[in-house]
C-alpha cells in the first residue's frame, strides 16, 4: 500500500514538473533572447544562456526608440486612471443596487446583467462612431471614459455589499453620519479585499487591452504598450532581441503587481468565475 502511494506521488510530481517546464520555457526563452546580441540571434544557436550577455537591447528600446517610454507612460496613465475610476464607480453602483431603496432599482439591475452578455464586437463599431463624433478618437478620455465602469464588477460589488453586516452602518447612522459619510468612511474601507481583487483585474484588463487602442488610436504618440509593441514588431521585423526586450519591460509591472496581490488575485478569479 505504501509503495503504491509512492508511485502515485511520483506520477503527480512528474505531471506538475513537466507542466511547470512547459509554462516556463517561453518566458525564459524570451528573457534570454532579450539579453542576446543580434549576431547570436541570427546565428540560430539554441542556448538559454546568452554567449555574450548584453543590455544593449534594453538601451536600444529606451534610448534610441523615443516613443517607447511614451507608450509606457500612456499605458500607466490609462490603466491607472481606469482602475481608480472603476473602483470608485463600480462600488458606488454596487452599493446603491444592494442597499438603497429607489424607483427603477430592479430593472436597472436586470439591464446591467443583460449587458454582461453582449459581446464587445456589437458595440465596438458604434462606439467608434460616437467617439469620433465627440472628437475623442486619439485621446486619453476616449480610452478612459467608456471603460470607467464595468458591469461584471458592479455585479461583484453588489454581491459583496448584500452580505455586508448592516449593523455597522446603523451604528454609524446613529453617530450622525449621512449616507455619503457611511459609504466613504465605513463601507468602502471595509470592502478592501473585494476592491483589491477588482483592482488587479481592471488594471490587467486595461494594461493588456489590444482591440480598443487599435481601433481608436492612430497617433503613435498616444499608443499604449500593446499597440506600440505591435508597431515595433513591424518596424524591427527581424530584430527579435529588441522585440523580446520590449516584451519583457511590458510584462514586468504586471508581475510586480501580482507578486504583491497574489492572494487577492486567486480570490478574485474564484469570485468572478466560480460562483
Amino acid at each position: 500500500m505504501k509503495k503504491k502511494m509512492g508511485i502515485g506521488k511520483l506520477l503527480l510530481y512528474t505531471v506538475l514538473i513537466t507542466y511547470a517546464v512547459i509554462t516556463m520555457i517561453p518566458f525564459l526563452w524570451a528573457l534570454s533572447s532579450s539579453f542576446k546580441t543580434l549576431e547570436e540571434i541570427v546565428s540560430g544557436t539554441m542556448s538559454f544562456i546568452p554567449k555574450k550577455f548584453t543590455l544593449d537591447n534594453y538601451k536600444q528600446i529606451f534610448v534610441e526608440q523615443e516613443l517607447f517610454p511614451r507608450w509606457l507612460l500612456n499605458s500607466v496613465v490609462v490603466a491607472g486612471t481606469v482602475t481608480v475610476l472603476n473602483l470608485l464607480f463600480n462600488s458606488m453602483a454596487g452599493y446603491a443596487l444592494a442597499r438603497l431603496q429607489f424607483p427603477g432599482r430592479k430593472p436597472l439591475f436586470l439591464i446591467i446583467l443583460a449587458v454582461l452578455m453582449i459581446p464587445a464586437q456589437v458595440t465596438m463599431i458604434p462606439n467608434y462612431l460616437i467617439l469620433k463624433q465627440l472628437g475623442w478618437l486619439n485621446s486619453y478620455q476616449g480610452m478612459i471614459v467608456p471603460t470607467m465602469v464595468n458591469a461584471t464588477f458592479i455585479f461583484m460589488m453588489r454581491q459583496f455589499f448584500i452580505n455586508f453586516p448592516k449593523e455597522l452602518e446603523e451604528a454609524a447612522e446613529l453617530d450622525g453620519l449621512g449616507r455619503l459619510g457611511i459609504f466613504f468612511r465605513i463601507v468602502l474601507p471595509l470592502a478592501r479585499p473585494a476592491l483589491a481583487a477588482q483592482a488587479i483585474f481592471v488594471f490587467m484588463g486595461s494594461w493588456n487591452d489590444f482591440m480598443r487602442p487599435l481601433i481608436i488610436l492612430s497617433d503613435p504618440q498616444l499608443f499604449t504598450l500593446p499597440l506600440g509593441l505591435n508597431s515595433f514588431k513591424g518596424q524591427y521585423i527581424s530584430y527579435w532581441n529588441y522585440i523580446m526586450a520590449a516584451s519583457m519591460v511590458f510584462t514586468l509591472p504586471v508581475l510586480v503587481i501580482y507578486a504583491f496581490f497574489n492572494r487577492y488575485f486567486i480570490k478574485g478569479i474564484s469570485f468572478t468565475g466560480g460562483k
Binding site: 489590444f210 509593441l229 523580446m244 501580482y258
Partner: protein, 299 residues
C-alpha cells in the same frame, strides 16, 4: 413625522442616483446607445468620408453574408478553433487543478508558475510564440532534436491556425484551472473517505467523485471558453499582421469584422451585420451547451 420620513426617502433616492450617475452615463452613451445604433447600422450602408452618411439598404447586409467567401472561411476557421480549443483547455485545466489539489509539497510554487501566462498580455504572448515558431526557432529545433517533423508555423496555411490553437490552450488553461481549484475546495472529504473504504483507486475517485461533483463548474468553464474562443482576435491579428493570412488561414470572424469596419471603405454597415451574426452564434452555442449539460446531469 411623516414629512420627515418622506424627506428621508427622497434623500435616499437622490443618493442612489448620485451613486449610479457614472454608471448610467457610460451605460447609456457607450453600451445601450451603441447597441441601438448597431441595429441601425446593420440595415444601412455607411460612408465615413467627410461627414458620415447613412443609406438604408434593408436586409442587404445580412444577405451579403451568405455570398461572402471570406466570411465562410472566417466562420469555418472560428468553428474549428472553438471545437478544438474549448475541450482541450477544459480538460487540461481540470487535470492540472486535480493534480495541484492532491496535497503535494510545493503547491504554491507550481501555482505561481502556472499563472504566468494568465498574467501576460496577449500581445506579448503572441510575440514570444512567434519568436519560438520561427522557422529556425526554438520549437523546430526541439522537434528536430527528438526526430519529429518541423513546420513553417507562421507561413504555412495548413499549420498557422494550429500554431495559434496550441498557444492559446497553453495560455488559457491556467485561468480555468484556478476556477476549478476554488471549486475543489468545496468537495466534501467524506465522499473521498467513503470511496476509499470501498477500495476505490485514485483514478476511480477522480472519475466518479471529482468529475461529477465539478459538473456545474465545468459547465461554467465551457461557456466562458465558448465566449472567449468565438471572439479570437488579438492573436490572429498580431500573428498575421492584421491580414488573417497566410491564405486566410488565421482569418477569424472578429478579425473579418474589424477589417470590414475599419480597413475597407463603405463596409461598416456590413461589419455591424456580421457582429450581430456573431453575437447570435455565441448565444446559440451557449444555449446549446447549457441544454446538453442539463440533459447529462439527468443520468
Amino acid at each position: 413625522m411623516k414629512r420627515m420620513a418622506t424627506k428621508r426617502m427622497w434623500r435616499e433616492v437622490g443618493t442612489s442616483y448620485l451613486f449610479l450617475s457614472p454608471t448610467l452615463f457610460v451605460l447609456l452613451l457607450f453600451i445601450i446607445g451603441p447597441i441601438l445604433f448597431a441595429i441601425f447600422l446593420a440595415f444601412h450602408k455607411v460612408q465615413l468620408l467627410g461627414t458620415t452618411s447613412f443609406e438604408f439598404v434593408g436586409l442587404d447586409n445580412f444577405q451579403r453574408i451568405a455570398d461572402d467567401t471570406r466570411a465562410k472561411i472566417a466562420l469555418w476557421n472560428t468553428l474549428k478553433y472553438v471545437v478544438i480549443v474549448v475541450p482541450c483547455q477544459t480538460i487540461l485545466a481540470l487535470v492540472l487543478a486535480a493534480t495541484l489539489n492532491a496535497g503535494l509539497k510545493g503547491q504554491k510554487f507550481f501555482r505561481i508558475v502556472y499563472f504566468l501566462p494568465t498574467l501576460t498580455s496577449s500581445a506579448v504572448l503572441t510575440l514570444i510564440f512567434m519568436w519560438m515558431y520561427n522557422q529556425n526557432g526554438l520549437i523546430n529545433h526541439v522537434l528536430k532534436a527528438v526526430g519529429l517533423p518541423t513546420y513553417n508555423w507562421i507561413g504555412d496555411p495548413d499549420v498557422a491556425l494550429n500554431a495559434i490553437m496550441i498557444m492559446n490552450i497553453w495560455a488559457t488553461a491556467p485561468y480555468f484551472m484556478v476556477i476549478y481549484l476554488a471549486a475543489l475546495q468545496d468537495v466534501p472529504d467524506s465522499l473521498y473517505e467513503a470511496a476509499e473504504l470501498d477500495g476505490a483507486s485514485a483514478w476511480q475517485k477522480f472519475w466518479h467523485i471529482t468529475v461529477p461533483y465539478l459538473r456545474p463548474v465545468t459547465s461554467f468553464v465551457v461557456v466562458m471558453g465558448l465566449i472567449g474562443t468565438f471572439q479570437l482576435f488579438d492573436q490572429s491579428y498580431i500573428f498575421s499582421g492584421g491580414s488573417g493570412g497566410p491564405n486566410n488561414s488565421t482569418l477569424t470572424v472578429v478579425l473579418l469584422i474589424y477589417q470590414y469596419a475599419f480597413k475597407t471603405l463603405g463596409t461598416m454597415g456590413y461589419a455591424a451585420a456580421l457582429a450581430f451574426a456573431l453575437a447570435i452564434l455565441i448565444f446559440i452555442a451557449t444555449l446549446l451547451q447549457r441544454k446538453l449539460s442539463k440533459e447529462e446531469s439527468l443520468y
